[in-house]
Amino acid sequence: MSAPLVSVENLSVHYPLGRSLLGRAPVLKALNRVSLDIPRGAFFGLVGESGSGKTTLGRAILRATPITEGRIVFRDGAGEIDLAEMGRARLRAYRREAQLIFQDPYAALNPRMTVRDIIAEPLGIMGLTRTRDETDARVREIAAMCRLNLEHLRRFPHAFSGGQRQRISIARTLVCRPHFIVADEAVAALDVSIQADILNLLKSLQKDMGLTFLFISHDLSVVAHVSDYVAVMYLGTLVEIAPKHALFRKPRHPYTKALLSAIPSLDPDDDRKAQRLSGEIPSPANPPPGCLFHTRCPHATARCRSEIPELGDGGDGVRVACHHWKELST
């Protein structure tokens, strides 16, 4: 097995909350000591509710937010680089390797540019093509891969529906031939009938172009369908990482179990009320001590309230951060 494309090691991102004259300024721990490996060519799903830090993790890996502590190792053809230590020239090259797909296809496209110019823009910025013909050829090739009608390249974004716009923004993301894509809630703004089409497109691009995806979503059933691996986040930490089938067949962490049972089932007679969580997600500015989930966990003990659980081996390739997962799964 080859080395993972991205390795995140003990990554923390803290944001200062105002200033304090005496003592240390308070910080918001958006991400706290997160470690994970994203295998080359994988579709890696990242789920969590609001405030879980999933977007911050995606942004940190793209070097779009300052890193407080830890390492992010990216392994491209040229070898290993630590993204946290990377200089400007290296960062510029990395921008070509790693790209982002945004949530809102209405806000992501410049209304004054034609579809052709929108898709071609990254090529110009990175100086990847020399002639207009070369640019056009590349734009048409990528537009066809994203199943865009080539007749539409001369039009402006307002003429398109949400699904078509998302295909345009995917084409722009892929035009400089990146290897790694962060898709942050890429289908959240789309209607169900269109969402399936975009998910299928992303999966086929993963296979055809050998792409590695970090797919961030709040929707566990969407993540379940496209991902090979799934990581579950809660309040800035990872609670469970597992191959897809292991996670959905036998979730280890009580939070993962609760998240799965909270998804409204399509079967009107399926009542999974038993696992319902009480209480609300604590504020990341004022997280509880010990296991961050203990305030809502039905199985919390004195140990959970004082000791932070480490992410450990849960069998079947699963890693889980819970003191009691073993007792709970019998």
Partner: protein, 336 residues
Amino acid sequence: MAERLISVSDLTVRFRTDEGLVTAVDDVSFDIREGEILGLVGESGSGKSVTAKALMRLNADNAVYDPQSRVMLSMPDGGPLDVLALRRARDMLPVRGGAISMIFQEPMASFAPALTVGHQMVEQLMLHTSMSRKAARALSIEMLDRVGISEPARRFEQYTFEFSGGMRQRAMIAMALSTRPRLLIADEPTTALDVTIQAQVLDLMKDLVREFGMGILFITHDLGVIAQTADRVAVMYLGRLVEMGGVRQVLRNPLHPYTRGLLGALPRLDALDAPLTPVPGDIPGPLERPSGCVFHTRCTEKIGPVCAAEVPAHVMAAPGHGARCLRLDRAREAAR
């Protein structure tokens, strides 16, 4: 049988725009009874919100209601009231916030940020009931407690920015129900909430229907939410009600190709590796409304040119379960 609270018939709503009249709701009819949750599902542009707003005449001033459209509301005292025939804002008072309350997707936008939650709850109670300020305050605090907000007396004095998203939605439900409306319109009430909080709010709404015996028109794009809350479902596409029936009938035995398409496009946790089948094509824009059956441009089961020419009637296939599809219509004729 439970009393019929509202009866909508032949509702057609168009909007005057610079590009001409745009049809948003086209010939929609349904009833809601006491203690019943009717789920209204549809994608963006299906007209579900315009339909809901028509029940309280809340659509913008450029809305045009067709003359045959009727929204008959049964009032607690006296006979039915035709909401669409009301002209003055004063006449709307017993309807808006009286017989019908509405809750929205974004609770932050529904509360005034500069007034306390309590102030707003008391204000609407005093407007709609003959309650004293003291009694209104007591009832408001009791309602906050009923929807599961801890320390209700302290929360009563707070502003919405001090509430979390789930708490704001609970407070909005408390406020909407404190006037004891006969019908509650809930427009995507849990869409902005996290799943674990959504599950709590849905449980709460089901409990309150049981306790208060009111009817709910529950609007959502999420079929899972419908399955877990609604008694009956109405599916809308491009302003038309394409299928209606009991929640089990519609989800287990969908009649309309669009309903089947929606179910096939949905990722399901019980079939992780099943391929997702998108509904082909895109939703047509408001100015390119298809002729005949509005779904024919995306339908995989259309019968030649007939579907583009003929508007399907609502055909009943089982008691309480029907759809607007020419295939059903033809099958019924053949059976005769």
